[in-house]
């Protein structure tokens, strides 16, 4: 097995993890948006993510681009196979994006209500579909010998994947609420602080159920974990991170909670990556047709060129992403030109 393929397996994973950690909180803020009743509170919600949401979405675009470049077979199979699901995802992402921009431009109640619903529903459906897609990847999808998708749209909406979708929505909502706790003060902070414990509880319940369901419904997971016992360590660390979230919140340290939540996401992705390796898209019921990091990959030459691009690009990206979060640190305030 070539090391470049492994490196790109990790890098694609890193990009999608970055997406989950970053866009995860702004999707989560969207999911919670309608639960805020006052216009001022909703504006604070929007402005807390205002400067950063589109930078966060670039992680998805770049993750998609990296998947296309490094593993074109996987990109082609998944994107054409999940056709309608992805079209719905795209429409949802569009709606929530423009809703952020449009919503506060006019003061009419109906206008704001319309875009509030668009923003919240768009965020909810996006998070749900991302989870459903992920659930199907974990569970494996029907592939033929040419690696073409052989299932149906309704087949993608199986209970396991839907549970993963719901878990993702709750995870993002919890993550978003913790982010809001960092960015707000006063009355909004009080409201958000009341939500956080409930969201943590809901997420934990769903997460536990999902893990049990995985062990029952997805037999390969248990087999792989037996062969790769170190995965248990990652799962353990993950559980500690998840449990640390309520602890940090209880001690009044939302930033610590946010970091814990980010770490939990990274460890969940790591658990997935370590157990799934070397598969890119698992074929279920016929694992022989699976796409792996070998048969789905571009040439060594392209993976090498892409690695140079990543080595130059990624540190720069991380440096100014961090700077921008630093510039916009602290509590969100409203001005006339805010969203």
């Amino acid at each position: 097995m070539n090391s470049l393929n492994i490196i790109w397996y990790v890098l694609v994973g890193v990009l999608f993890t970055g997406y989950a950690m970053l866009d995860g909180f702004d999707l989560g803020v969207g999911v919670l948006h309608l639960f805020a009743k006052k216009d001022e509170h909703r504006r604070l919600f929007l402005n807390s993510i205002g400067p950063v949401w589109d930078g966060n979405e670039v992680w998805l675009v770049t993750g998609g681009g990296a998947l296309f470049a490094a593993f074109p077979e996987a990109y082609a199979t998944v994107f054409s196979g999940f056709y309608l699901a992805f079209m719905l995802l795209l429409c949802s992402l569009i709606f929530r994006a423009v809703a952020i921009e449009f919503r506060s431009k006019e003061e009419w109640t109906w206008w704001r209500q319309f875009w509030d619903v668009a923003f919240s529903l768009g965020s909810l459906v996006s998070a749900l579909l991302i989870g459903v897609a992920m659930g199907n990847i974990v569970r494996g999808i029907p592939l033929d010998a040419n690696h073409e998708f052989a299932g149906t749209f309704l087949g993608l909406l199986n209970p396991y994947s839907l549970l993963m979708g719901i878990t993702t929505v709750l995870l993002f909502a919890m993550h978003g609420a913790i982010y809001l706790a960092m960015k707000t003060e006063g009355e909004v902070l009080e409201i958000v602080s009341r939500w956080i414990p409930r969201l943590i509880a809901l997420f934990l319940a769903s997460y536990l159920l999902f893990n049990i369901y995985t062990l029952v419904d997805v037999p390969w997971v248990l087999e792989t974990v037996r062969a790769r016992p170190y995965v248990v360590l990652v799962v353990g660390a993950n559980v500690l991170c998840v449990l640390n979230i309520p602890r940090e919140i209880h001690k009044g340290r939302p930033f610590g909670g946010f970091l814990s939540s980010c770490a939990a996401m990274a460890l969940m992705m790591a658990t997935f990556g370590l157990t799934y390796f070397p598969n890119m898209v698992l074929a279920n019921p016929d694992p022989a047709n699976s796409l792996t990091i070998t048969n789905a990959a571009s040439t060594q030459k392209t993976l090498g060129i892409m690695l140079v691009i990543a080595i130059i690009g990624v540190p720069i990206v991380l440096a100014y992403t961090a700077s921008i979060y630093w510039v916009f640190r602290g509590k969100t305030t409203l001005t006339k030109h805010s969203y």
Partner: protein
């Protein structure tokens, strides 16, 4: 309708709507750099409030550009899975480079540009504006690289996977339908792929088109204010910047157009023949100024200038431009259809032609609009030079300003028409002379699925476009906002206001 046609319609629709916005972002980005630079240089607070007003317009176009752009990144895989597999090794890397180098730069610094007016210093803010503009141009580079490779593929070879091992295929290998599960194009020379024969010509052409889109938007809104006698001082200064920018871009665009057309003549002779409606190969090939292609009789109707096309394509009137009846060559056809008689080959020739009547029209619309814009800019500059430009008492000035208000549509029409000519002129190929569009579709996607998504996107994009026009109109009605655009005191200390 077939899956192929539906997939093309859906892609064309989503990319055409998307392409209304990025050119504005690129053009306005450049203009913002100029305005903020002028403010830092002169200290005149008017340039500051100007930059702030145009930043709000910029933000609106940027948000929709991002939202509609994510779709494009996914659609290669959803609609063109076979294509994605075939060219992923090449095309994917350009797309990923666009994400890593350009999109992050743009979106990251956009936060500072939009929300950083009192968070960072004026020079840092100017730097952020420059980075956003640079990122927008840089993203144009990568996407034009990817598209140009489809027009004039270079720096690659074909390889076939046999029993898990890859075998390099000879350069003249003809890809067949049966090959599509095992043959793919892979990078041989990255830089030859990036700077393929048409990249630089087309990149220049696209960026100048984007500059024109931004410049004429500024011209249009400023001319509107002057006609309505509102925000006069602001509008006059904006019009001067916009008109100057438009003049430079429009003149350069003519030069770039010439280079691009010569490149098409060299690299894609069938496309050139379709764009100009040339069927017969004759010396002193004429150029039809406008008219239509009579496909049935294989002629083009309209006023012609003898020898002009030969001059534009080759620089000499005597050298003929190859006509469709001789394209593609016998050799090309017999390689793809071995053992077929010459008569049958001649009949097959037409299946390698693009839709000449449509390509001809799109190409000519682009040229006519481009020339008209150049004329308008020349008139504007002449009025400016004579001191008539702001003298709304003059009927001629009012006419000119009214024309300038509508000029904003010009670059949009020309940009769209140009892309339609470029992409339809490449048909039936998705990668020129290498892979057919009809063979590139996603095999697992049905016509019903595409129709469903097309309806969905049509509704969403119609709503988006209506909102964009509505909010743009509101922003124009509202105009620059002297009070709210007041600089923070810390900035005033750094850049002392000078008139």
């Amino acid at each position: 309708m077939t899956v192929e046609i539906l997939a093309r319609v859906q892609f064309a629709f989503t990319i055409a709507i998307h392409y209304l916005y990025p050119p504005l972002t690129i053009g306005l980005g450049m203009a913002l750099v100029m305005m903020e630079g002028l403010w830092l240089k002169t200290g005149n607070p008017m340039f500051h409030s100007m930059a702030r007003f145009w930043t709000r317009i910029f933000a609106l176009t940027f948000a929709i550009g991002v939202a509609t752009g994510i779709v494009m990144e996914f659609e290669f895989g959803t609609n063109w899975a076979t294509y994605s597999r075939f060219v992923g090794d090449i095309f994917g890397s350009a797309l990923a480079a666009e994400g890593i180098f350009a999109f992050f730069l743009e979106s990251g610094f956009l936060a500072l540009l939009l929300f950083g007016w009192n968070k960072v210093g004026p020079r840092m803010h100017f730097f952020a504006t420059c980075m956003v503009a640079f990122g927008a141009h840089f993203s144009a580079l990568w996407i034009v690289v990817a598209n140009s490779w489809m027009q004039t593929p270079a720096g690659y070879h074909l390889e076939k996977i046999v029993n898990g091992k890859s075998v390099v295929l000879p350069p003249d290998y003809v890809v067949t339908t049966a090959d599509l599960t095992s043959v793919r194009a892979v990078v041989e020379d990255f830089w030859a792929m990036v700077f393929n024969p048409s990249t630089l010509d087309r990149l220049t052409h696209v960026i100048l088109g984007a500059w024109m889109a931004g410049a004429f938007l500024i011209v249009s809104i400023s001319a509107f204010y002057i006609l309505r006698r509102r925000h006069l001082e602001f509008a006059k200064a904006s019009l001067k910047i916009g008109l100057g920018f438009a003049a430079v871009a429009s003149v350069l665009q003519m030069v770039s157009a010439d280079f691009t057309a010569k490149g098409v003549a060299r690299n894609q002779p069938i496309k050139l023949a379709a764009m100009e409606g040339v069927y017969q190969t004759v010396p002193f090939t004429p150029m039809t100024l406008f008219g239509y292609v009579d496909e049935k009789n294989e002629t083009t109707v309209g006023p012609k200038i003898p020898g002009l096309l030969s001059i534009l394509a080759w620089g000499t009137p005597a050298k003929p431009v190859a006509g469709l009846r001789d394209l593609p060559s016998e050799k090309f056809l017999s390689a793809r259809h071995p053992g077929v008689s010459p008569e049958e080959l001649a009949a097959l020739r037409k299946s390698y032609w693009p839709n000449a009547p449509a390509v001809f029209q799109f190409y000519h619309i682009m040229i006519l609009v481009g020339v008209a814009l150049l004329g308008l800019v020349a008139a504007g500059c002449f009025f400016w030079w004579r001191g008539w430009l702001f003298d709304t008492g003059r009927p001629l000035t009012r006419w000119l300003l009214a024309a300038l208000v509508f000029s904003v549509l010009g670059p949009q029409v020309a940009n769209q028409a140009g892309w339609f000519a470029a992409e339809m002129g490449r048909q039936p190929w998705i990668v020129y002379d290498l892979l057919k569009t009809s063979e590139s579709i996603s095999k697992v996607v049905t016509a019903n699925q595409i129709v469903a998504s097309l309806v969905l996107f049509a509704l969403v994009y119609a709503l988006l476009f209506a909102m964009f026009i509505f909010l743009l109109t509101r922003k124009i009605q509202h105009g620059p906002d002297e009070e709210d655009d007041e600089m923070p005191d810390s900035w005033k200390a750094l850049i002392p206001p000078r008139a």
